[in-house]
Symmetry: C2
Subunit: 478 residues, 2 copies
């Protein structure tokens, strides 16, 4: 399918929700709600014979009663009602139907699989393209399309294609907390008509999308997929996560999206050959997106680290090293500069820089970052905010120093063109902490970093793995 | 050193803080504050010539001015003042000094290393035992001893020995959020006098301690360490985390605690041979503690999983499998039972159980857990609460169902003797969410599970790795 065709589908002038509902438990309610809440600009037609209005909008007893033209329809009806609905929608010249509707081939039942084929044949005959079935459909905040509550209303450069719907909406939510915003996210479930290749082809050309994320459980046409992936990866970073790697996972992909998962080692080799980046789980998919989104090109592996306290510095060093980064010793000329400046720990200080050593020494962690920032021996800088230790500290002064540190980190990032990564712990806040000033200061500091477009990661391990993969990606481009 | 000797040290009748301070930035303030705040029962003597009182307590100009006997002293004075302080404390017949004081051999400087040896020689001559130097000392909530703000005041069965102080206090804080409480935590830094072996020997006999955690960067006497570790691991689970695995990490351990780290593969083999359990990082150390603390004996590897939605179920399956657990297919007799009960997805449902499949099917996820709970094919049960997806859902009814689920999980755990693990996501809450009812419901649900003593983990991957290691531990005991 051409770029222009999908571009038109994603810019409908009007949307119908067939099977809209007053039951707030249902997705027939949710999709109607989102069109209003996310500000869809054109006419919204809700179809339900049992209620005169839903989410404050007039409803129509049937598709045929809709007064104006319909470009895009969201189907929340049961599987058994889909063919009749398609006949009706064809009368309205609808271009595309998103089948939230499930219980087709993924049930493993012959009658359901046959019904799915009937739906496809009918849609093809009527010239209707299908997203799904068995999926969440489209999140395109700029158009006023959403498939989840609590997702950002503003947009950004990440585009996502996801076979899983729940995975996609949870992912968008979690990634948004790390500063990622999305151009478009398409959850496509069983991929009956439009497949991951159609969406990938679209994202290659889509100017709103600078980074492409893909969660896929299985592909129907391997050759076309790797051809499309290779073309995409030449144009922009593509990060691929495969669901269904082992035996149990593969078995599971069938009942989820009727996908046959195939051999994972073969898959990984092909993703690499295509020039794309492979992510092992959703956390890594977010980490890689953060790294591509917020870091400049990563040109080397030698990292200078502010490790926090002593133990955390030891751990930071080995987690960087185990990911293939090089935690180099402090260069001699840098030591000499420290000595010339009368720094009393010039011979003791290491990389990582241990905060309990620099305290009161005549240099601060920020001074050390500046020295490493301007020194050519370091390709990457990393600093640990160490929030878990901060939670056990006492005084306001000591603690509020974290806010200054954050400002300094942002200004440091703006001073040197090197990739600069900040490690900022995450942990489940408990309800009793809502009024704990420590928690608030920590949350505000993290939000300031993220709001300023810093690349932040919850642990050194996760940061190091992502940065190393991004470095390999850029090395592969040469 | 005998159990009784350290037991006496850890039950001082009076404590002195030498170098107590009004500066809330300093640890001279913190240690004084904690003795009051955590309710130390005996006399507290604060030594500082410059202030008449600190944290509401009278201060003494020097150690010699303290009116009563002193059993335990916390040293916050500079390294250069330590020998004079020890002479004074010897006059008071003090049994043990915790040297928070740092800047000894870990600086790598000869004069500092020599001073450290002088301190040791003097302490030995005076019959004073030393904890540290360069460490946080003792957290023993039942005695009113603490080394951090915001740490629990109640105690529990985990005992910890940590060479890193910041690591220890942050660790206690994070572990407490997962329901872990501690008997005693001893941070011992450079281990000049008492070493990890003395503390291990103590924990073997300590009745308050059922699980021993050890963070160590290097040991001075390898033979004694592995002998002590072997004896300890025969008596209770011992979980060991090694700091300083690679090149950069090893280099770093020296400037942190003057430890020579040694070869990591050799280390790991010896830990295993000793019958102890090895943890790769602080997160895994917490996970293993949760598993040993809250699960019954893990007798097999076959796991039944409630995976949440479709994508998360696929991921759950493979993360369990990659950790060496077996995600077995639904047994035929269980399918038959479902069919006999008229469940309309009897032939479709898989392990993991996909919540989007069971919805409206005639069985709930809880029914499926009961079936797996009573079926002998399953050794372990796991259920995913999937909080990240819940954050994007709409209605109160749907969402509040989570609270019922939590109650059901607890009752299910109490019904079947099998290990039952709950996966409950964690993520950084942002300040704007403080009043979001979704966040509150999620936090309350997690706290209810943890409060009920359930084994909860933030991801399937982390749960599966911990459970598998615990299963291997119990298999090794046979």
């Amino acid at each position: 399918m051409s770029f222009q065709e999908l571009e038109t589908i994603l810019h409908p002038r009007s949307v119908a929700v067939v099977g809209a509902s007053v039951n707030t438990f249902s997705f027939g309610y949710s999709y109607a709600h989102h069109l209003v809440e996310y500000g869809f600009k054109g006419p919204i037609y809700l179809v339900n014979p049992n209620y005169p209005e839903i989410v404050g909008l007039k409803t129509y007893p049937s598709v045929r009663d809709i007064p104006g033209p319909v470009d895009f329809a969201i189907s929340c009806v049961n599987a058994s009602q889909v063919t009749a609905m398609l006949e009706d929608l064809a009368e309205k010249n609808v271009k595309c139907v998103h089948l939230y509707t499930a219980r087709f081939s993924e049930t493993g039942r012959q009658d359901a699989a046959e019904l799915e084929q009937t739906v496809l044949t009918l849609a093809r005959r009527k010239g209707i393209r299908l997203i799904g079935p068995n999926c969440m459909g489209v999140y395109y905040p700029q158009m006023g399309l959403s498939f989840g509550f609590n997702l950002p209303k503003d947009s950004g450069p990440a585009g996502m294609i996801s076979q899983s719907g729940g995975g996609a909406s949870g992912f968008v939510h979690l990634a948004s907390l790390r500063g990622i915003r999305f151009s478009k996210v398409i959850s496509y479930g069983n991929g009956l008509d439009l497949t991951e290749c159609d969406y990938l082809d679209y994202f290659i050309q889509d100017r709103e999308t600078k980074i492409v994320l893909l969660y896929v459980e299985g592909v129907k046409d391997g050759r076309r997929f790797f051809d499309t992936l290779s073309r995409a990866a030449r144009v922009k970073p593509v990060i691929v996560m495969k669901g269904g790697r082992g035996q149990a996972g593969s078995r599971m992909t069938f009942s989820h999206t009727a996908s046959l998962a195939g051999s994972f080692p073969v898959w990984e080799a092909l993703v690499k050959q295509a020039g794309a980046v492979s992510a092992g789980d959703f956390d890594e998919l977010i980490d890689l997106t953060v790294a591509f989104r917020f870091l400049p090109q990563v040109t080397g592996k030698r990292v200078g680290v502010i490790g926090g306290g002593g133990g955390p510095s030891v751990i930071a060093a080995e987690e960087c090293e185990e990911s293939g980064l090089e935690v180099i010793p402090i260069p001699q000329d840098m030591r000499k500069e420290l000595k010339d400046r009368g720094v009393n720990i010039w011979d003791w200080i290491s990389n990582p820089v241990d905060l309990s050593i620099v305290a009161g020494s005549g240099v601060t962690d920020i001074d050390m970052l500046h020295l490493m920032g301007k020194h050519p021996a370091f390709d990457i800088l990393m600093a640990n905010v160490n929030e878990w230790v901060f939670m056990t500290l006492a005084s306001d002064e000591r603690f509020l120093g974290m806010k200054n540190q954050v400002k300094n980190h942002i200004s440091l990032r703006d001073t040197y063109p090197k990739p600069f990564v900040v490690i900022f712990g995450e942990r489940g806040v408990i309800t009793g902490e809502q009024d704990n000033w420590r928690w608030k200061v920590i949350a505000e500091a993290r939000e300031e970093l993220i709001g300023a477009g810093m690349a932040t990661f919850p642990t050194f391990r996760r940061a190091a793995i992502a940065v190393r993969k991004v470095q390999e990606y850029f090395a592969g481009l040469d």
